[in-house]
Symmetry: C2
Subunit: 351 residues, 2 copies
Amino acid sequence: MKKIILGVLLLLFAGVAQAQHITIARQGHFSVGGQTIQRLGKYDNSKFVGWAEQEETGQSYRADHAFVDFQIPADSKKLPLVYVHGYGGSGVCWQMTPDGREGFATLMLRRGWSSYVVDLPGRGRAGRTSATTTAKPVADEMFWFDIWRIGVWPNFNEGVQFPKDSTSLSQFFREMTPDLSNHQLDVPALGALSERIGDHILVTHSAGGFSGWMSAMQNSEVKGVASYEPGGFVFPEDEVPERIDGLTGGVAGIAVSMEQFKRLTEIPIILYFGDYIPETPSKNLGDENWRVRLQMARKFVEAINRHGGNATLVELPKIGIYGNTHFLMQDLNNAELADLLDDWLLKSKLN
Amino acid sequence: MKKIILGVLLLLFAGVAQAQHITIARQGHFSVGGQTIQRLGKYDNSKFVGWAEQEETGQSYRADHAFVDFQIPADSKKLPLVYVHGYGGSGVCWQMTPDGREGFATLMLRRGWSSYVVDLPGRGRAGRTSATTTAKPVADEMFWFDIWRIGVWPNFNEGVQFPKDSTSLSQFFREMTPDLSNHQLDVPALGALSERIGDHILVTHSAGGFSGWMSAMQNSEVKGVASYEPGGFVFPEDEVPERIDGLTGGVAGIAVSMEQFKRLTEIPIILYFGDYIPETPSKNLGDENWRVRLQMARKFVEAINRHGGNATLVELPKIGIYGNTHFLMQDLNNAELADLLDDWLLKSKLN
């Protein structure tokens, strides 16, 4: 009897210890979407045709797909999260942090949410495209340090949720990767992903935000959208607000049909914006790039709700969460942001 | 008492059910190696300098690193496996199969082996390099179908361990991705990885095989090497065999100092080659590319063992395993190959 109780206790203890681990039922990678280019002519197996582009080799070339890295935890929530990256990088921004803490997708896995992390066409593992593109070593890191509100180079913003050691900064910049696409492939790729995996929730970032709104309007499989600092916004064609000007080019609303827009009123939507975004014009690139976008985001959320939708704009400093950069999902408080998202998903009955 | 026994049985059953899952203690991504390019001049925060390459922007650019995707299972073996891909693709070849079965790294995770899957510089997520490189849509898939011994296009090899549906073939080809590097960065990146993670076992493929030998000779952290159809081989400078000619260019041994070569005699090494490799010259590209390499592999293994080493060459058809292409790790029998590797690692006391 004592032995049996000891056995039960040991097994229970093993269960508690395992709770710190992530239990994965399935994981893998696959591509979605894209096209197949077929050259004219007849392929000749006996000779090597060389590497230069040739017209009549009779060979094919698959291109313009996205790549997807997925993990399904044991006892996962029903709806998976599809992570869409923004400009300049790949899906890796959702899977790591500059200082080695867990990536956002892993934090959400621990909360029971399956992940589908996308490398959009032309980036990361989705490198084969139909475009001819030249990648050049254009030094731009100080510019992005500013634009992404880590600080005003070489100074970090006061209280910033970004690690200040040089190794972390190096890891962060090395997440950037060229875009080898013709820049019009993101939305079709998200459509192909919808077809493959069915119902899901989009979690988008920055330039990926616009592709997310487009996918939600086109694919009934999108059951909700959480967007971290989206860069672009859609409006019903008769209700596009005036362009908002700013030092980095400002932002204009994009017109879509009322029928399309209405689709965004049928699903729960949340937008998160971080810290250091001023209300009035500034001389700083990072201030300016997000001041205009936050203002347009407010109009976007108003428009959705005016038409009967359920959109929420969370300006993090207004709820007492300070120091977030544009890369909120990697910031030092990303576990707190994962809790916020988890709460919203459950409250919105998206599990 | 009955309730307690029932409780124990239920917990034991839960334990068995969980055995089908993978229990991950830690996972993430990081970059290793590379350089930082620093442009002259002083960075001006107030103006946008544009995208064209400019000399005096005062900005920096991190480049030439590798990217690493790691997973550490609970109760992992002590030494992790570092997966090095070959020409034309990224680390994704170790993480998926064309038909959606589990990738090789996941199969090995299930056997307790931690994985570090590398995207070598210029490929996949490691896209920023110091080179200026143009990616073009050069149609080449039939060529690779042949070279990688899936068959002689459009026919599959008889009994081939490759799924014959068009979706799988498409997934397979879409794993290819451009190389944006200057082609001399792989070995330094593996050195930087050795420094970061310490002792490990290399699992290499194809062109990655040569970088693996170089890393093993330069980094004492490499405690063993398993190489799937390596494309290149090193020999002591006075013992380089004659070049072996063939239809796709043949293969020459690469000379290294005896002191360097000796390092390969101090660690367990295994090489695996698949099916459809003839002994005598052929008119087929795939036959020819691997006929010469298998012959050179035999000389390489002989050289290591002649100098007191412990190298094994496994020609799979000779042990009754048939149908393997050049992408053995993805083939339909990859779970059987994972068992073979697991057995060898344990027998070689590399756990």
